[in-house]
Symmetry: C2
Subunit: 439 residues, 2 copies
């Protein structure tokens, strides 16, 4: 049997501890599958003495990730610390410059510096694997980087944040408010004490930026993403969506258009009968539409120590199965030098269906005025629902419009025109509709 | 840039012609992604003169697959002829013995001789890739062979036959009979003139046998599969399933149990709210349940020239990205010599929920008798629905039972006891229920 693959792990949080446990308890199976043993040769973490339920007494300890990356006798450097800069970034760079293969779950680092790291890896004959960085246990990086070779991809979209999907699912199933569901998610550990990064869509955006590059061969552009979180989604929206045959999900969408690549993260209505609409709770899903394969959808756990460790281990095993320097899977699907500049398609040019919910004064002529504003902007309507509050003494009513495919710009103009009218009560709600191909 | 990867293709049907077209029209992109050109160096097919809409005038023609495999100057032999024996099997063996890498879409060949071929490949330092053999465009082989390394898998199941899923979907959506939907499927080219291989479950069984080996590390055992097709599914079953919150799918299921591995193909009721229940028409889906990753579900096209060619191309690209002899992904997940004997779990010991539909004479005491037969076999019931025909002059009524988890053996005994009673009209219908984890 070939020599052991020596692994150094930086970061022993939930994922790191899981990974150590799996590699140690499945040593025999891994050696058979990979054709060589996988050996944990070095580790580093913030606190050496903490009890993590794993035995690392025989493993060489380093006091910092940078030191481990620079000096440990290893073949693979596994970075599980997180963060776009600092020790994670420095140690990954150092490891790649030494020609060490790197496995990381760090989406922030890849979104910020993925192209630079890919270049360093390729210059030094090193592999850089990051399956766990997007959608946890779902092998979407492998699908894009390997399985779909030769395909021209038209759209990638998905549910990539478990916190948001958990909140939206609870709201729908139990009729609870956003605030109540957020509290529940925090209590269960599905949301951070400061939940902004998740619920404002930033986490999804990091992941989307990585998928965009793999799908379209463009440079990573995390700052060019249209961003809208789920904090404004009300239970009324969810009920209205259900009545019209839709469910609301926070999607990240990257799409090739005639004017460039759209990257957007926003609450989205998806047809209730679509497969992705059934993806509930903290589960993630990613769909890839391409010209040869067609549509591929993958559903699985998006986070959690074990699911993430499983993807990290798959990345390590891929390295173990190849001989050093032998494999040439380009880090970002094509060599870093071949990536093209990212050209942003303006959100105003986005074309799709829209759900528009308006609360208006209950008086004559209001409906005619709204219809006129739509017509003036050449927006054709798929359905119109008018509802009065059950309390019939209320002076307002709700009007819901669903448009056929139209331009974002037209919708914005129509809504602005309605906002200038005296009959509007409160802010209009606008939610984009996304349909799987052929739905 | 490295030397071109020279490919020889045996079989120029829909998939083969698609593959040639893609490799020729995307030559530049493929060279960038793979780090070397992919060149079609040799082809063979039944009829040299047929117009396939592709230009193979510059490609060396061989008169037989065996001759191509033996003599062509190629690196990869691509077998797209089909069939468990004859030219396909002989040429694949010959190619592997020469140390050529092989890519095939041939599920029948792999189900029949996969272990032998894996051994030959491994002895000769050749790769044997077969992503297209199971579920067409869905990268389930890669997921099992690579992504899930280190996971212990408990169950693999899926919709792996588009013909059956198309028929069941049409029956449900349009209230048509099995016979009418089969005719429609034949008219649209989704079913063969002789549809038995699809609708009796044999096609699903071939694919399941391959997945079982990858999931559980056991020798391929296609003859050890419990098999039940969809020909007995009536529109009444589908309606009753819908009323109870289920949909009916033909599933292939492989499951680890205490007494061995269950392999079974049969019509199955799945909860309507599950993701797999939404997979309609000719689309396929495969779910993998494992201890580290959790549940992974992949949905995509299960057949078609392009989708299949996409998987074949992915397999070729994997070879192009590795240097000859460098990569060591074992053909069947672990080396052929390490596969363990397949131990069959008896179907009588299968544990799960059951749907039982009985048509009985409309007279006093019948229900009590049925309930007694269930109780005698320790079967506990989740729901009981009794229906009289709308035509109230009918002398029979329908009783539907849904059981909690119980043993197949108990259900068979109870149904046999009921069959001995004078009140039973026609054959009882029994459909197994399969639930995703946590549903």
């Amino acid at each position: 049997m070939a020599d052991a693959l020596r692994v150094g792990i930086a970061g022993l949080g939930t994922v790191g501890a899981s990974l150590v446990r799996i590699i140690q308890t499945r040593a025999n199976e891994l050696a058979v599958t990979c054709g060589r043993p996988i050996e944990i040769a070095a580790v580093t973490a913030r606190d050496r003495t903490r009890d993590r339920g794993i035995d690392i007494s025989a493993v060489t300890w380093f006091d910092s990730a940078e030191e481990l990356a620079a000096n440990a006798e290893i073949d693979v450097f596994v970075e599980l610390m997180g963060g776009a800069e600092g020790a994670a970034a420095d140690s990954v760079r150092a490891a790649l410059r030494r020609g060490l293969h790197v496995v990381t779950a760090n989406k922030a680092l890849l979104a910020a510096s993925g192209v630079e790291l890919a270049r360093i890896a390729e210059e030094n004959g090193a592999l850089l694997n990051f399956e766990a960085a997007v959608a946890g246990g779902i092998p979407v990086i492998k699908a894009l980087r390997e399985s779909l070779t030769g395909n021209t991809i038209s759209r990638v979209y998905g549910i990539m944040n478990g916190t948001c999907n958990y909140i939206l699912t609870r709201m729908e199933k139990e009729g609870l408010s956003f605030a109540d569901c957020l509290k529940e998610a925090q209590r269960l550990g599905y949301a951070e004490a400061d939940p902004a990064f998740d619920i404002e869509g930033n986490d999804t955006a990091h992941k989307l930026a990585i998928l965009t590059t793999l799908a379209f061969g463009t440079q990573i552009a995390p700052d060019e993403i249209y961003l809208e979180g789920i904090t404004n989604i009300s239970i009324d929206d969810i009920h209205a969506a259900a009545d019209l045959g839709y469910r609301i999900k926070l999607l990240g969408v990257a799409q090739r258009t005639e004017t460039g690549i759209e990257q957007r993260v926003h609450p989205t209505m998806v047809p209730r009968d679509s497969v992705i609409a059934q993806v509930d709770g903290v589960t993630n899903a990613v769909a890839i539409e391409s010209d040869i394969l067609g549509e591929l959808l993958m559903v699985g756990p998006g986070a959690g120590g074990n699911a993430t460790a499983s993807s990290v281990l798959g990345d390590i095993a891929d390295i173990a199965k190849s001989r050093p320097g032998a494999q040439q899977v380009p880090v970002l699907g094509i060599p870093a030098a071949s990536l093209t500049p990212y050209k942003r398609a303006q959100m105003q040019s986005h074309e799709g269906g829209y759900f528009i919910r308006l609360t208006v004064a209950d008086r004559t002529g209001v409906f005619a005025s709204i219809a006129a504003r739509m017509a003036e902007n050449a927006i054709s309507l798929e359905s119109i629902v008018q509802r009065s509050k059950p309390d019939s003494s209320a002076m307002s009513k709700t009007i819901i419009l669903v448009t056929h495919a139209t331009m974002e710009n037209s919708v914005r103009k129509a809504v602005d025109a309605i906002k200038a009218e005296s009959y509007l009560v409160g802010e209009p709600q606008v939610i984009r509709i996304e349909r799987p191909k052929d739905m």
